[in-house]
Symmetry: C2
Amino acid sequence: MPLPADIGLRDGRHVMEVPFRALLLPANGLPGHRVGPALERFQMRLAERTGNEWRSDGNAEEVKLFIRWERTGRLVLGEDETYSLTITPARVEVQATTDLGILRGLSTLYQCLAFDGGEWYFPALVVKDQPRFPWRGLLLDVCRHWMPRDVVLRQLEGMELVKMNVLHLHLTEDQGFRVESKIFPELHRSGSNGQFFTQEDVRYIIEEADKRGIRVIPEFDLPGHATSWFVSHPELASAPGPYAIEKRFGVIDPTFDPTREEVYLFLDRFLGEMAALFPDAYMHIGGDENNGKQWAANLAIQAFMKERGLKDAHDLQAYFNGRLYEILTRHGKRMIGWDEIAEGALPQDVTIQSWRGKEGLISAARAGRDVVLSNGWYIDLCQPTAYHYANDPLPDDIGLSPIERKRVLGGEATMWSELVNARNVDTRIWPRTAAIAERLWSPAHVKDVQDLFLRLEQVTGQLENVGLRHRSAQMELLRLFAGTEEVDALKRYVDLLSPVQGYQRHSIRPGGYSTATPLTRLVDAAVPDPLAANRFEQIVDEYLRTRDRTKLDATLDSWGAAVGELLGRTEITSRMSVAEQQQLLAFSELVTRLGPGRSDPNTRPPSLDDAALLAQARPKEAEVVLAVLPAIERLLKAREP
Amino acid sequence: MPLPADIGLRDGRHVMEVPFRALLLPANGLPGHRVGPALERFQMRLAERTGNEWRSDGNAEEVKLFIRWERTGRLVLGEDETYSLTITPARVEVQATTDLGILRGLSTLYQCLAFDGGEWYFPALVVKDQPRFPWRGLLLDVCRHWMPRDVVLRQLEGMELVKMNVLHLHLTEDQGFRVESKIFPELHRSGSNGQFFTQEDVRYIIEEADKRGIRVIPEFDLPGHATSWFVSHPELASAPGPYAIEKRFGVIDPTFDPTREEVYLFLDRFLGEMAALFPDAYMHIGGDENNGKQWAANLAIQAFMKERGLKDAHDLQAYFNGRLYEILTRHGKRMIGWDEIAEGALPQDVTIQSWRGKEGLISAARAGRDVVLSNGWYIDLCQPTAYHYANDPLPDDIGLSPIERKRVLGGEATMWSELVNARNVDTRIWPRTAAIAERLWSPAHVKDVQDLFLRLEQVTGQLENVGLRHRSAQMELLRLFAGTEEVDALKRYVDLLSPVQGYQRHSIRPGGYSTATPLTRLVDAAVPDPLAANRFEQIVDEYLRTRDRTKLDATLDSWGAAVGELLGRTEITSRMSVAEQQQLLAFSELVTRLGPGRSDPNTRPPSLDDAALLAQARPKEAEVVLAVLPAIERLLKAREP
């Protein structure tokens, strides 16, 4: 996963023998800096799964894995990532034009490793593969909640496994300025509560990303989302200040003053420093959600606008963006920004990241601009995996010409961090982002959702094995919440929950969320669209098709047992909120009637008339929904006369 | 935990209301750099457990927590760490001479937080507390297996919770040179496979340790254990080389050449650089396990010894240590080293770290030297917690005078890393090291093992809550081993296993261990002296006392169920080695006879005559032992006529 473009299974298998010796065969004799470390990672991971020592010195005849490539790839948009993988009983061969292709091939090979109870092997096959889109990214917001270096580094392991190639770091926000400036150290010192990447951290992240064929694109969000800059530099803002690091979330007023030359001198120096620190050709300037309030309230700014004939905040922001464009161009960077920057008259070579809807993507491509899709991939909103998976940047009927279609470079999953922190962020990214990675890599016709889920069940374990914490973090939160190590029943229940979708949590919680709100409730341990819910959907489908109750009853019984056990654990349930308790009780009743109580004549079977019961299972205040409720409702509906 | 020196429970409780506002009251008006961040950690952790926002702006009358201290403590040996903690229904007060005392008091307060099903509260009490020993350390070997920065940082959280105050970093070894040198960058570049702390990493670790009142002592192991230095500097060794980073473990030959002045010039520059990087007054020069082979084989060295009248390798090493002593003194550092350095005629102000036995400690103290105990606290050897707990550095009968007793500064748990890596190291350190921390902090009379275990059950959860991975890492390893998320039965079985003690694993594994051996077998997931085994000990005790089988049968039944389920999971058992399978089968048979089969007249009850069965449950090749076997044997013995 992602599913290769072309895969042909053959008879037989390649039994993995120890040592599984590899030979590097770069055509020009230069192995470069990527394949060696990648092979070490790969061999150690094989060793960790099989339990055998991963390498030993010995003779060259024993080579089983041949790795051939022509040249070291450049880490730029559109570089060749094609590869072919041939597994025969006698040998394994990965071939590619560039070392980037080799990395992609090794990820595929790693996923092919299997165990049949007797031996470890790779199935014989021939794969020819290349990406559908050249820009396959993950945005990580390290600002709202701080994400230390090791959080970022482990995302790289997951990205490599699913062949993503852009890490977009959202580095400045109202809630934090997260990168060290040596020219203006007051920025990170005053703007970050001590939580920021040093330049050494940044270089280390970039180096590790490069080794995995992943570009790192920094975002400095301008002119809004900028409170943290103004803590030390209130003079750059459009209102006098003073400013403090923002603790609450949302669209906040503080905005750069686009009318003063000092602002551009300052940004020129700062962005120049960052342009040297981040080697990628692109630099992201944000540009989203400026509410214009500070501009409207500032007489000098209003006068400036009048003088220049700028009729509204859009015009003024376009002017600001134009100045930024000059600065970035001077520092050798291509500009990328959110939808809003398309509103002005910027040159065509600005790239648009489309977050507000497909229209932004279409109009940008028609306007001759490159565009990257994020709308539909806001993984912070806890929407269903199938929804993200279906979100094709280039459906056949999109109405773009062949040339315009070329401008759609790919997309990015965006992990905004208002409601996740370093502890649980992995649970919101993985394994779901693998589905987005597949949408961006695999051919458009690969879209079978049930097949996707079968493969997600595999890949979620592999993602853990390479260092991600989506499973562990959930368990840690459950044990913290429950105050005990005995959380099996709670875990089986939480497996059926999902956080409410969209932005609802902000308005549900009394007083709203801030950076000081602990993220240790059930909703923080629940994962979006849990795999167990999808498994139940399939069981219900099968039951409705066959009317064979075996699996359905077994599942309902196991839920009944888990929920029954949980209800007996008052030291845990007493920690639940009233709404959480109400939801658990309603679910328990539903399950009892559907499951264990089904053969008890005294138990009234549930029906859709049980509106009250279903409503109780959906208390908004719990901030979680029962992810299996839609399937239960289908079940109830089918039982209606 | 550690149990305070003096604790008096009072009637009532302090109900924790939100916001739980604190007031800092430093006597001199200077809050310093420790208490503010400590309070933030403390309040966020309370918030994470209770689920409530941790701080809000409001009026000062609402203050509930008063924190008073006199001055900022110096991070030096023997600095005042006393504190008092008073909890009444109306208020909570932590008082101390230094801010270090405040940190210790906040750790106690954190551990006092309780939930009764209705409310969160602190029980009313008065604590007056101070450490028994001023040196309470954890040694972390980051060389044999590399431990990245985040591994070290999270140990600091655990150390703070249990009031340890020395982090001893073992930074150079045959298998790796783990710290950046700017003067001799070839050392870390050639000696580390790219895995080392940059100086920025070191400063960050030191800063975070300082905030927690923890000193950081670097160890540069000399003259042996030094292969990694010689990869770039073979000329410093006593044999010509070339040298490569060592992959295998044990006492290896390469040793510094103590006869050449260039060696001292080099070490002077390098240790001078490190003396500036590490602010602590102490520097550790290792000094252990030099086998003398390279010296014996080098004619020039032999000639040098003859010329100087040095009669053997001990004399030569003493000469070398004397030269190191001069270098360290010149750079303003006090020397500390392992037992062996006591063999020469070094000045009295050298501190001895005693690892080979209690005699070393006694003779050092008698010789007028300060001494730190590590013998008995080699946590890499997977010995019982009770053994470590009973290891008192200063028992009444040690035979030292009052002045000599004063020289016993405390001790260190040593986490050598031949057989642990960054993934599972937490499982070998925690929660056991909390018992060692208690031995070093609490009064000597605190030594009730069963009480210790009751408190360990609590503290293990708190250690996880502050960021340690001892529970998660085990589960990750089990899922990796089993290739599935469904590892409940496996986990319940592994809870009863413990790695073989001592150095046995090295000789058991065919071919031995090296840095290339994956640590992903059952033995790597098993924890030393698991809490479940201790629980069973108590159940057996109770049964033997009361002959009431209720709890015993329930436990045996649950084991029977777990093992039965595991035996049915062939996709898991097929991954076990033959020895692991044999052990599981033998245990299953024992449990069946003792437990579920007890009322079946066809099941022969087991007896001590079942030598074969018991032997099968102890296959050396499994590298794990059934930690519950001794209790089972007691049970069997008691049933004999």
